[in-house]
């Protein structure tokens, strides 16, 4: 291996020869181009570290401020009035669970059926393309507008804020997530499995119910869990559909408390007790959201 010395000296003057006579192809880290690359690498590391700071700061505050206040009383008692000490947010936990449950009951069946249409029945029809596009547009839909919409169709006509209206507003927000995740999960079911079932003389419905849905179940469930996590943390649509209540839920047609609205209301109050409760409620809310996120990851991992 003897490279012509001329080339080495005229063009690659920074290259040296090792004792064995081979070219040393490593760049000197101080050479202009390498230096620029090194600086940018450093900046990228810095950006990544800075981006992680808020998450850890939020988690730290939740555990320090919220964790210290967490007790059986805070989890079950009713919210305190202005100057009271103690109290809790049991009714808000119940309200959040009930409304997210309602939203799940409404959005999941419709979402999965719509996904069946998109993924299996008519994937290339004009309706399918339109629905897919609208579902994607709806994922970026401001959540507060779902509240405005449900206020107009339900709160005004029923003349009362209600858990039902809150549930419907959250369902509007969950629907696109469920549809898109379920469609993707069903589209990933191998074609030969479906063809085998068709070959046995199955109708499309039988193929869907007995082959596609069971095979895609974990993917669909992942999407549902993510949608639930999103809905549980979402508060804007509840502001003027469910409003708030200082008492436990007794019927679905009355104003209902939720964790997110409690945090919003208490965060602006000038009383330490309420602010502590807001942190504790935030901790509970984040834990609920995280549990569903982790469930989604675990279910998703099993399959793929």
């Amino acid at each position: 291996m003897s490279a012509p010395d001329l080339v080495v000296e005229s063009q690659l003057h920074t290259l040296e020869r090792t004792p064995g006579g081979l070219l040393r192809l490593q760049r000197s880290p101080l050479e202009g181009r390498a230096l620029k690359s090194g600086i940018l690498t450093g900046l990228t590391w810095l950006a990544a570290l800075i981006a992680a700071v808020p998450l850890f700061s939020v988690i730290y505050m939740l555990f320090v401020e919220g964790g210290s206040r967490l007790s059986w009383e805070t989890l079950t008692a009713l919210p305190p009035s202005a100057f009271d000490l103690g109290g809790g947010f049991g009714n808000a936990i119940v309200g959040t669970v009930v409304m997210v449950g309602l939203a799940t009951l409404i959005s999941v069946p419709f979402g999965i059926l719509a996904a069946v249409y998109l993924a299996i029945l008519e994937p290339d029809s004009r309706l399918a393309h339109t629905v897919r596009f609208l579902a994607k547009v709806l994922t970026g839909f401001p959540s507060i507008l779902a509240g405005v919409f449900v206020y107009a169709i339900m709160v005004v006509t029923m003349k009362s804020y209600s858990a039902l209206a809150g549930g419907v507003a959250l369902a509007v927000l969950m629907l696109p997530t469920v549809i898109l995740a379920a469609e993707q999960a069903m589209a990933m079911v191998p074609k030969k499995m479906k063809d085998a079932a068709y070959g046995m003389g199955c109708t499309r419905t039988q193929v869907i119910l007995q082959v596609v849905l069971p095979t895609g179940a974990s993917g669909i469930l992942t999407g549902v869990m993510l949608a639930i996590a999103g809905a549980a943390g979402n508060s804007a649509p509840l502001l003027f559909t469910a409003l708030f209540s200082d008492y436990y839920l007794s019927s679905l047609t009355e104003p209902t408390a939720s964790l997110a609205i409690l945090i919003y209301n208490f965060s602006g109050m000038p009383y330490d007790n309420q602010i502590q409760l807001a942190w504790a409620a935030s901790l509970v809310l984040v834990l609920i959201v995280l549990v569903f996120n982790i469930l989604a990851r675990l279910i998703g991992r099993q399959k793929y």
Binding site: V137, F141, L145, F240, I263
Partner: protein, 325 residues
């Protein structure tokens, strides 16, 4: 069902066999329901637009387009206009996009260009995804009790030193544009990062190998080959991130100060369309509700357009690579 060529199979006891009349009926019904569910999305979106538009109609005929350029929001005199809110929405989202976009793209590069071993990259990706899972109100609370106290001395020092520059024209007394935009940037960062990661991952590996083979440094490959190749996907990430910022409500309602003024200053309180809805809607009277519906319609129009543009860009980006493969 006159022609049933496989009739004999039905009696043969085999697992396979022709669908019975009942099966056909169930099939039709089920497919009908699925079609109905899909069509429901169409109906839902149309209903949302019509309902909000319909409720906004009285205010539209009363205030006309002047509503969009008036700066007054006065319940007593029934004078309503949303120019400050539109300004605040666009300004805060733009600032958030500047910061969140920069960091989001940096993180997408960090995750895809072999800066970390794959396992560590997966962990870091999870951290960024968890950032997206934290509810808006919790960020609001964090903003009030952590970010604002942290920001206030810095902001007030900047105001003292460089108060002549319009961006630092006021001091930060509490809630204001800067903390709101910072929190907004944190909230859109995961959106920008994850879509950019997808865009960068779509680039065929041979493109990167070709660049390295030409003797580029890592960053020359990133800046001159990878980023331009992924540019339409990254643009889509930015547009969709912007769309998300426009509609974000709770954190902003808690941090921006809800003050109807137009100011370039980063430390002045401002307002956004979504925050206006959140803070005024629950206590509004019938006339104000109409005006709020008009504001909601404006927000709907802005976000629908931005999101549709983002999706169109994204579609274009994926199509480009499908054609190349």
């Amino acid at each position: 069902m006159a022609a049933q060529p496989f009739e004999h199979l039905a009696q043969s006891g085999s697992v396979s066999g022709p669908p019975s009349g009942g099966d056909y009926f169930l099939d039709r019904t089920f497919r009908g329901i699925a079609w109905f569910s899909a069509a429901l999305i169409l109906v839902l979106v149309a209903y949302i637009v019509l309902e909000i538009g319909g409720k906004a109609l009285p205010a539209m005929s009363r205030y006309g387009l002047g509503f969009l350029t008036s700066t007054e929001w006065n319940v007593q005199t029934e004078q309503f206009g949303i120019l400050p809110q539109i300004w605040g929405t666009l300004y805060s989202s733009f600032l958030a996009l500047l910061l969140g976009g920069l960091f989001g793209i940096a993180i997408a590069i960090f995750l895809t260009q072999d800066f970390l071993p794959p396992r560590l990259a997966a962990i870091f990706r999870t951290i960024i995804e968890l950032l997206a899972a934290i509810p808006s109100v919790v960020f609001g609370l964090w903003g009030i009790y952590v970010l604002i106290p942290l920001l206030r001395p810095v902001a007030n020092w900047l105001h003292e030193v460089a108060g002549g520059i319009p961006f630092f024209g006021t001091s930060l007394s509490g809630p204001g544009l800067a903390p709101a935009a910072l929190v907004l940037a944190i909230m859109i960062l995961p959106t920008v990062a994850s879509i950019s990661v997808d865009a960068l991952r779509q680039i065929p590996y041979k493109v990167k190998e070709a660049a390295y083979g030409m003797g580029t440094t890592r960053w020359e490959a990133i800046l001159k080959v990878m980023l331009p190749t992924a540019s339409s996907g990254i643009l889509a990430a930015l547009v969709l991130g912007f769309g998300r910022a426009l509609g974000e409500t709770m954190a902003l309602a808690m941090l921006i100060g809800n003050s109807n003024q137009i100011s370039l200053s980063l430390f002045a309180p401002a307002n956004t369309l979504a925050a206006l809805l959140a803070s005024s809607f629950p206590e509004a009277g019938p006339v104000e509700i109409q005006a709020l519906m008009y504001a909601a319609l404006a927000l709907l129009a802005i976000t629908l357009i931005v999101n549709a543009v983002g999706l169109a860009v994204m579609k274009f980006a994926t199509r480009k690579f499908e054609a190349e493969r």
